[in-house]
């Protein structure tokens, strides 16, 4: 058996994937939010839809992450959080997050984003003050973790678009679903 390959560094990982201009990404995301606001009218509904879109992405993105990052099974939630912050964010968005504010049980922590490619050019008008503009990101985290047997609740606690000094999302591990063996085949 070949020796297990060491996980790549975040920078090496990002350098190894195909990339596109972040502005295309930013503006496309803006177009999505704008369409949702027009269609759904209620800001709360838009928040939900963005979260759902993120969740859908997360459930698919985790496969690519595991396939390309050479990361092996994480020992605990702390390690998982570190991997997401250093490698996950880096591989897809080219930025890193800081993991902080752990609770005593080690089941909830915060990701603080230093750079957030979603929000370039963005300003929330008065009518959209309740909008969780970056909800897609929290959805991605929730969706991706669910695929690796961790049920989480992810909420934004700080948002620079709403006048805070950083982007901070709180991730709370609510349930670790034990993996069952033998795996059931989907028919």
């Amino acid at each position: 058996m070949p020796p297990p390959t060491a996980p790549k560094s975040g920078d090496a990982l990002f350098a190894s994937v195909e990339r596109v201009n972040a502005e295309l990404f930013t503006l496309t995301y803006g177009a999505i939010v704008r369409q949702l606001l027009t269609d759904l009218e209620e800001v709360e509904e838009v928040n939900k839809q963005l979260d759902q879109m993120g969740y859908n992405i997360g459930t698919r993105l985790v496969d690519e992450f595991l396939a390309k990052s050479n990361v092996s099974r994480c020992a605990d939630f702390k390690e998982t959080a570190d991997v997401i912050a250093k490698l996950g964010f880096k591989m897809f968005l080219g930025v890193t997050a800081t993991v902080t504010n752990w609770d005593a049980e080690g089941t909830s922590c915060s990701f603080v984003l230093e750079d957030n490619p979603l929000v370039d050019f963005v300003e929330l008008p008065d009518t959209c003050q309740g909008l969780q503009y970056c909800n897609v990101l929290s959805g991605v985290i929730r969706g991706a973790l669910e695929m690796v047997s961790m049920k989480t609740e992810v909420t934004w606690v700080r948002d620079m678009l709403r006048g805070d000094d950083a982007y901070e999302m709180r991730v709370k591990l609510t349930k670790q679903v034990p993996e069952e063996y033998p795996y059931k085949d989907d028919d």
Partner: protein, 194 residues
């Protein structure tokens, strides 16, 4: 203190220095997001034409902003006012910034002189898309057609812009052609310019 990053707070988005546009994200991140855009819009429509129109609308919003951004950053606040120049601007500058390369070709229609075509062998948004048989000629390039229309219209060149698959001989995947049909007034103005 942990958690205070390099991101600075600005009272107003316009106070923030304009990025130089060198930042990148992974192609997958974009592809996942784009796929959500398409899937969401599929839930909002009854037919393919409507779906293409909605993707075009989304693209239009991007195009309008791209024009403003690039005129400022790449063109020193000037924008093209001649037909060929604006087409070249899209084919080269806009394409380069958004898709990392100039478009494969820019041609004038042979049958109608108000028609121009920008073609791309593998349009970025179609990279990971395969259209199910029952969706006929649906082309996600409608989004890019929308971007082109957004740039053109906001630069004063109203046009109808559509995306089409064109089979290439000996190739499995067709290329995408963005067909631009300018409004009559644009050609009349162009003729007066001489």
């Amino acid at each position: 203190m942990i958690g205070v990053g390099k991101a600075k707070q600005y009272a107003n988005v316009l106070d923030k220095p304009l990025s130089r546009g060198r930042q990148e994200v992974s192609l997958s991140a974009f592809a996942f997001l784009f796929s959500e855009l398409v899937q969401y819009n599929q839930t909002q429509v009854d037919n393919i034409a409507e779906l293409e129109r909605r993707l075009e609308d989304a693209g239009y919003a991007v195009g309008a902003r791209v024009l403003e951004l690039l005129c400022h950053r790449e063109k020193g606040n000037r924008r093209e006012n001649r037909l060929l120049d604006i087409l070249l601007f899209i084919h080269s500058t806009v394409w380069k910034v958004l898709f990392g390369k100039v478009a494969d070709s820019l041609e004038r229609g042979t049958e109608h002189e108000d028609e121009y075509m920008i073609s791309e062998k593998e349009l970025l948004v179609n990279r990971f898309i395969s259209v199910p048989k029952d969706m006929g000629a649906f082309n996600c390039g409608a989004f890019v057609a929308g971007i082109v229309r957004g740039v053109l219209e906001n630069a004063g060149f109203p046009a109808v812009v559509t995306a089409h698959f064109v089979p290439i001989e000996g190739q499995q995947r067709p290329r995408t052609t963005i067909l631009i049909k300018f409004a009559e007034e644009v050609l009349q103005r162009e003729a007066r310019f001489g």
